[in-house]
Amino acid sequence: MSSELSYSRVNRDVMRPLFDMGMHWYGLVGLVVLGLAWGGYCWGIQLVKGLGVAGYHPPVFWGVYITTFVFWIGIGHAGTLISAILFLTRSRWRTGIYRAAEAMTIFAVMTAALFPAIHVGRAWQAYWLFPYPNQRQLWQNFKSPLMWDVFAVSTYFTVSTVFFFIGLIPDIAAVRDTTKGITGKLYTAMALGWRGTDRQWRHYMAAYGFFAALATPLVLSVHSVVSWDFAMAVTPGWHSTLFPPYFVAGAIFSGCAMVITLMLPLAKAFKLEEYIHVWHFEHLAKLCLFTGGILTYAYGTEYFIAWYSDNPYEWDVFVDRVVGKYWWVFLTMVLCNCTIPLLWWFKKIRTSMMGLFVISIIINIGMWFERFNIIASSLAHSFDPGAWVYYTPTYIEWGIMIGSFAWFFLWFLLFVKIMPSVAIAEVKETLRPPLKHEEHAAK
């Protein structure tokens, strides 16, 4: 962080986009609304006509929707990782990026949370997944991994959102103090009367620490629980104890890549380079290299276990992934997740904007295909050879997926417009506080 930065400059720089947003922003919002309309239209068709408009080919009963669900949940990991785990480990480089990363988490979880409703056959009965007292005296099956999922995702969403808003309160207060009129009233309401009193800061810091402490195991548990959706099934290719660490590593991998994808243009567009530095991205890239390494190792281990177990069903699935009809999915996955990110070992690439941006997108593509590879190819090549099929998605599924990206970006765009996308108070914390005796010394 530049030593020239002062407290007031931080306020000014970070809040600038809130009041002076270029035409680009409106253009982007228009584009995103278009995508959302497309997705909504596709979902409308699906709701009215039934899931048959998607490409499901039994026994492939899960497809693009669950793939995209897991993808978004995975994206949602980086934010809380950065904000909570790095907070607890006092990694100071988190300050510049954690706010936007956290927002990304929440929006990613919000996007992911759409998918169970999109995925289930009777979306209008999806509320049955939540335990609530009813006259039928019916409850849920708490032994089902899907039920765990409901709990894990809703808990994750609730905790992340609370964490996010707690972190925002001092910054909203700062925004409040520079706005007037209706907007000012809104910020006043959201700031909950925050004035930065000693009492407020005292409990705030205590609570923030607890949130971080609670969110940390949650980060690890959410994707573990999601991975149990697969690992708890008997389906060959899924039934593996490797899944939780494998999924968590993959989630952090894709999440960090997504942070790079989002923050690079953000820093550029809002001239926040002084706060979101290249070395932030370098750190993220290194984190990606680390988790990507774990992931590559996990891919290898999967094959080793399948081979070593001598379970023919298992081994057949893994062979089929390479030589079967889904070879292209496997190839994309390996190229995007294991091979291309290795370029980041070169400092030149991992510090160049283009190198960071392109590879981070490639990683996101690869991670989507990883989930598709796990889901579709396992189901399409299960126990009974009479039921081996080839599932291909339809335009409805692609449309809804595009819609989900639009939904995510819409929230993100709104966020950068109305909330400070860099944590003002925390950035100030990293600055040396203004001290009178130092000023005298300087003079």
């Binding site: 006509k49 039934g50 899931l51 048959g52 490409g55 499901y56 080919h57 039994p58 026994p59 009963f61 899960w62 169970p116 995925h119 289930v120 056959g121 009777r122 979306a123 009965q125 999806a126 049955w128 997944l129 019916l138 409850w139 849920q140 099956n141 032994k143 089902s144 991994p145 899907l146 039920m147 409901v150 959706d229 708890m232 099934a233 008997v234 389906t235 177990s309 001598d310 379970n311 023919p312 069903y313 057949d316 189901l379 299960s382 126990f383 009974d384 050879p385 009479g386 039921a387 081996w388 099929v389």
Partner: protein
């Protein structure tokens, strides 16, 4: 009670039930529904309870008995009649006859062109046409399907008045009949009793499928293959150019060159007579047979011929089956005579080949039909009555049926909707469904089947018998029945009659003159002709009530002695010609038959047993041929003969010779709601040559050329993989093992594919983390005997109709979204003579440790106290996790709300919920029937006995070969327990230890092992001990069975 008859009661009931199904939303404050009681209670009708009517299946000439279940005014299901000698069980095509009754395009009342007529108009037009034809000196002719019983008797009466009768079916029996006449001088068909046959050699007769009398043959074959029943296992040899459904069950497939079958049969007869030292009346015929020439003509080595003859002569009795004429060429009769000669030589007559007056009424040949059509074209026919045939679709182009019909002054069709032969001048008289009217049939000495109305007619139709009775009254008023015309064509009348001894049945005038309606006609005729033959002469009125209750009268013992009379053999026909590279084999569809069920969507959608294709026409070619042509998976193939060409999809079958192209018949219709535009008409490729000895159409007489035509054929297999990929799902055991280790005497002999497991598991059996759940009273279980299952699909259809599973159309089927709860897996192992087609009916296995149950988040599926894996539709949210987690892929998902098109919805079974979109469903072991049975037996405070359970599910009731047995595993003496403890028994994917309620009995075969070896004594038992119960001193066979690894696995 005046003015209210039975019809109205049923109608009121129907209204009530429709109203009940119409409303589906439920608001607890506003009842939107009416409750409509009867005006007057009909006898024996309980609202909400089913009534059963014995009836007659009109699906084909075989005329099996059936039982129709009427619920609240509609027949909702049919099953085979267990009192009929071919029952229990009902083939798939029999079920289609029931579906056809609800066809949406059934016409409502008589039609002339596009005009609707009243019945009075229509019948007067009919009589008018008859009279004017006679007045004009033109002929009055009948062109129809085979008919027996009272309709045949009425036709006999009409024949006396000048009606020219031609009874012809495209898939007919004329060559077999001609062969019997020639060989034994008997004008009837041989009955093949396979139950005791040690060796079965078939030249292509579809004896498990579309052949006349296949239900009885299927049962006999299943019994002959069952090691437990006769302590032997029949060896089946198929000598055909193509492996069809029946041939797929053979132990040896001998791919003789098409057209050479007769020579092969004669060679076998010669070799067998040498082996047996035959000295009978046919000995003279054998001298001139040249075995070496036959071998070279047929591509079958002399050694192989000798081996086959050795099998036949070595294990008595045996049976040699002819080619059905759909599978024979210009020498169909020669082949049939040669097979009879084989049977004669082998001493099978009277043992496995029996004559007892079996024939489907009057049988005319294709030549006769063509002669009639030629006369039509020549303007010699003034009135043509067409019954049950669609000549424009089912006859080769050279018969020009459409042109011939157009040249007739008045064509009257007895059909429920227009077909390809209908033109503007055709008078269509809808004859309704067999379930709506009185009918009868008699295809054998002493076997009479009665059909009675099981529901009110859905449309304004009038039975064929009723119309003919009216016509006979009008045009043959007092003419006495002419015994010369009627007797030989009607086996019923051939039975000895001495009606005069009972004054009640003395008939002074012809029956048709005295009977006021067809029901009365039947009753009077039966009183005159059937009743006197019944031993003991029961009291007439109570006898008739009993006949109505049972639906069948069977007086066994009408066998006729047969002596060989032929002194010379029919000349061999011409070899297939036409100048193509491939011999064209057109075969009737196992489901659509000759095309008569093409308009039944369930028939179109049920996957073909061999290719698992659906909704269309395709060719079967050898994979090498496909490679030569450079065919891609989706490419169309153009098949061209001198008569034309069709472009269809293809299936690479290892079961056709490389020089053969096989095309499935039945589709390619121009009319019919569901038939129109589906596939292509294979018959149009035939040259129309005939077998000179019988006049039968030579199906195998044409050569064809193949060409890649690109495009997208749209045909798609339902089964994903051709073979089992080395997995042990459908298992075989060797005959030796099966005979050495019969039921209950030894450990499992099934070599089951194993995942290598812990040594401790090998020693102590599978380890359960949790005990198997308690089943206090019942543990419902089912046993599929793969040794008897031949993939016919009857169970699949029966299940679909009982459980309201919809048909979904070709687009959805291509995505594999079949809704049928039974998936008939077909696995094709090996190739050449040794190829081995295995069928595996995969249903929900009702596991005790079910993977699906634990994963449902809303408890929509769970295990109940009866051992069933329950599925509650109205709780299901549709996460589909259960389906992913089912290793058997047994669950079905409602991707859409499938609505039954108008009038099919009347067929819905009201005992089970219909499912909306987004809901999972699966086999429930017909829980509605189980609950009904439990409810009934609870009234007398008893558990349901095994006898009441064995055939309780729709699939078990439908299975023609008794391959499916249902029961309570807790009943130690029950059939299902006995079968489940047989050494052949195994559970599917037993290594997963899901403890299924479904067990399979491995097929017993003479095949060389394709993989994994035979189970021979090394105890490759399955893990699944379920449905074993804990406690109660039961020890499951698998516990003793250890977990030896089968050789060559993985």
């Amino acid at each position: 009670m005046e003015g209210i008859n039975r019809r109205d009661f049923l109608r009121a009931g129907a209204v009530a039930s429709t109203a009940a199904t119409a409303a589906c939303t439920y608001d607890y404050k506003v009842p939107a529904e009416k409750v409509l009681p009867y005006v007057a209670n009909p006898e024996n009708v309980q609202p909400g309870l089913a009534s059963y009517y014995a009836g007659l299946c009109n699906g084909c000439a075989t005329a099996c008995g059936l039982v129709a279940r009427n619920k609240d005014g509609r027949v909702v299901h049919v099953e085979g009649n267990p009192d009929h000698p071919s029952g229990p069980g009902l083939c798939a095509r029999g079920h289609f006859d029931f579906v056809a009754a609800y066809g949406p395009d059934r016409i409502d009342g008589p039609m002339l062109g596009n005009d609707k007529l009243t019945w009075d108009d229509a019948t007067s037009k009919l009589v008018e046409a008859w009279n004017s034809a006679v007045a004009a000196g033109k002929g009055v002719a009948w062109l129809g399907q085979y008919r027996t019983g009272s309709v045949a008797a009425l036709l006999g009466a009409l024949a006396g008045a000048g009606l020219r009768r031609v009874h012809f079916e495209p898939v007919g029996v004329e060559s077999l009949l001609a062969a019997s006449r020639r060989a034994f001088g008997l004008d009837e068909l041989p009955v093949y009793e396979l139950a005791e046959a040690r060796t079965i050699v078939s030249f292509g007769m579809d004896f498990l499928g579309t052949a006349f009398g296949s239900m009885a043959m299927t049962k006999g074959w299943a019994r002959a293959k069952d090691p437990a029943q006769g302590k032997f296992v029949a060896r089946t040899v198929a000598i055909t150019p193509r492996v069809g459904q029946s041939e797929s069950q053979a132990d040896h497939w001998i791919a003789a060159r098409p057209g050479s079958e007769a020579k092969v049969a004669l060679a076998i007869a010669k070799l067998a007579s040498d082996a047996k030292g035959y000295q009978g009346p046919a000995a003279g015929l054998l001298a001139g047979i040249d075995v070496a020439a036959a071998a070279s003509a047929s591509d079958v080595s002399e050694d192989k011929l000798r081996e086959i003859a050795g099998w036949l002569a070595g294990a008595e009795p045996s049976v040699v089956l002819p080619g059905g004429n759909a599978n024979a060429g210009a020498d169909a009769t020669a082949l049939a005579v040669a097979t009879l000669l084989c049977n004669e030589v082998l001493g099978n007559l009277g043992r496995t080949v029996v004559f007892r007056g079996s024939r489907p009424g009057q049988v005319n040949s294709y030549a006769d039909a063509k002669a009639l059509l030629d006369d039509c074209k020549a303007g010699k026919i003034g009135l043509l009555l067409v019954d049950g045939l669609d000549p424009a679709h089912g006859l080769p182009a050279d018969a020009d049926a459409a042109g011939a019909l157009a040249a007739v002054d008045r064509v009257v069709q007895f059909a429920n909707s227009g077909n390809d032969s209908t033109n503007d001048k055709t008078l269509i008289l809808p004859s309704g469904s067999g379930l709506e009217q009185w009918s009868d049939a008699s295809t054998e000495h002493g076997l009479h089947v009665l059909g009675q109305p099981a529901m009110v007619s859905l449309k304004d139709s009038r039975g064929l018998g009723e119309v003919l009775l009216g016509l006979a009254k009008a045009v043959a008023p007092a003419a006495p029945t002419d015994p010369a015309t009627a007797a030989p064509t009607d086996p019923a009348t051939a039975a000895p009659t001495d009606a005069a001894t009972d004054p009640a049945t003395v008939v002074a005038v012809p029956i048709h003159a005295s009977a006021t309606n067809f029901a009365e006609y039947i009753r009077l005729r039966w009183a005159a002709e059937v009743w006197p033959t019944v031993p003991g002469r029961p009291e007439a009125a109570s006898w008739w009530r009993e006949v109505q209750a049972k639906g069948v009268v069977h007086v066994p013992g009408g066998n006729v002695a047969a002596a060989w009379v032929a002194t010379e053999l029919p000349a061999a026909g011409e070899a297939p010609s036409g100048g193509g590279k491939h011999t064209l084999v057109v075969y009737p569809s196992p489901l659509l038959h000759d095309g008569r069920w093409a308009n039944v969507p369930w028939a179109q959608e049920l996957p073909d047993p061999i290719s698992t294709f659906f909704w269309g026409t395709w060719v079967e070619i050898h994979p090498d041929t496909a490679a030569e042509l450079g065919l891609g998976e989706k490419d169309l193939v153009e098949v061209s003969t001198g008569q034309g060409s069709i472009k269809v999809g293809w299936f690479g079958s290892k079961g056709v010779r490389k020089d053969v192209v096989a095309v499935i018949a039945g589709n390619g219709k121009k009319t019919g709601l569901y038939a129109k535009g589906r596939g292509a008409n294979a018959v149009s490729l035939l040259a129309g040559a005939t077998d000179s000895a019988s006049g039968a159409l030579a199906w195998l007489s044409t050569q064809a050329n193949l060409k890649r035509a690109g495009g997208d054929s749209g045909v798609h297999p339902l089964c994903g993989n051709l073979d089992q990929a080395g997995r042990h799902l459908a298992n075989n055991v060797s005959v030796k093992d099966a005979l050495d280790k019969l039921e209950g005497e030894a450990a499992s002999i099934v070599a089951v594919h194993h995942v290598p497991i812990d040594e401790r598991v090998v020693e102590n059996g599978p380890v359960d983390m949790f005990p198997e759940p308690q089943h206090p009273t019942y543990r419902f279980a089912i046993n599929f005997d793969l040794n008897a299952c031949n993939g016919c699909g009857a169970c699949v259809v029966a299940c679909a109709l009982e459980n309201n599973t919809p048909f979904i159309g070709p687009d959805q089927m291509r995505r594999g979204r079949t809704m049928t709860w039974i998936r008939m897996d077909r696995f094709w192992e090996g190739e050449g003579e040794n190829q081995d087609v295995r069928y595996l009916p995969a249903v929900c296995q009702q596991c005790s440790h079910a993977p699906c149950e634990g994963v449902c988040p809303v408890l929509a599926t769970y295990h109940n106290l009866d051992g069933l894996n329950a599925m509650i539709y109205n709780r299901c949210v549709g996460t589909r996790y259960c389906a992913n987690n089912c290793p058997y892929a047994a669950r079905r998902f409602n991707y859409h709300t499938w609505e039954w098109p108008e009038s099919y919805h009347l067929m819905l079974n009201p005992d089970i919920s219909s499912r909306e979109m987004g809901v999972m469903e699966k086999c429930t072991f017909c829980v509605q029937r189980l609950r009904y049975a439990k409810d009934s037996w609870r009234d007398v405070h008893e558990t349901v006995p095994d006898s009441a359970l064995q055939k309780i599910t729709a699939c078990a009731a439908a299975c023609p070969s008794n391959a499916i047995v249902f029961g309570n595993w807790k009943d130690a003496d029950g059939a299902v327990r006995k079968k489940g403890e047989s050494p052949r028994s195994y559970t599917l994917l037993g290594e997963l230890n899901t403890k299924p309620g479904v067990r399979y009995a491995a097929r017993v075969s003479y095949h060389q092992p394709v993989f994994g070896g035979h189970g021979g004594g090394h105890g490759g038992g399955d893990h699944g001990e379920a449905p074993a119960e804990h406690g109660a001193g039961h020890s499951s066979p698998s516990k003793k069975a250890g977990h030896g690894t089968a050789e060559g696995v993985h």
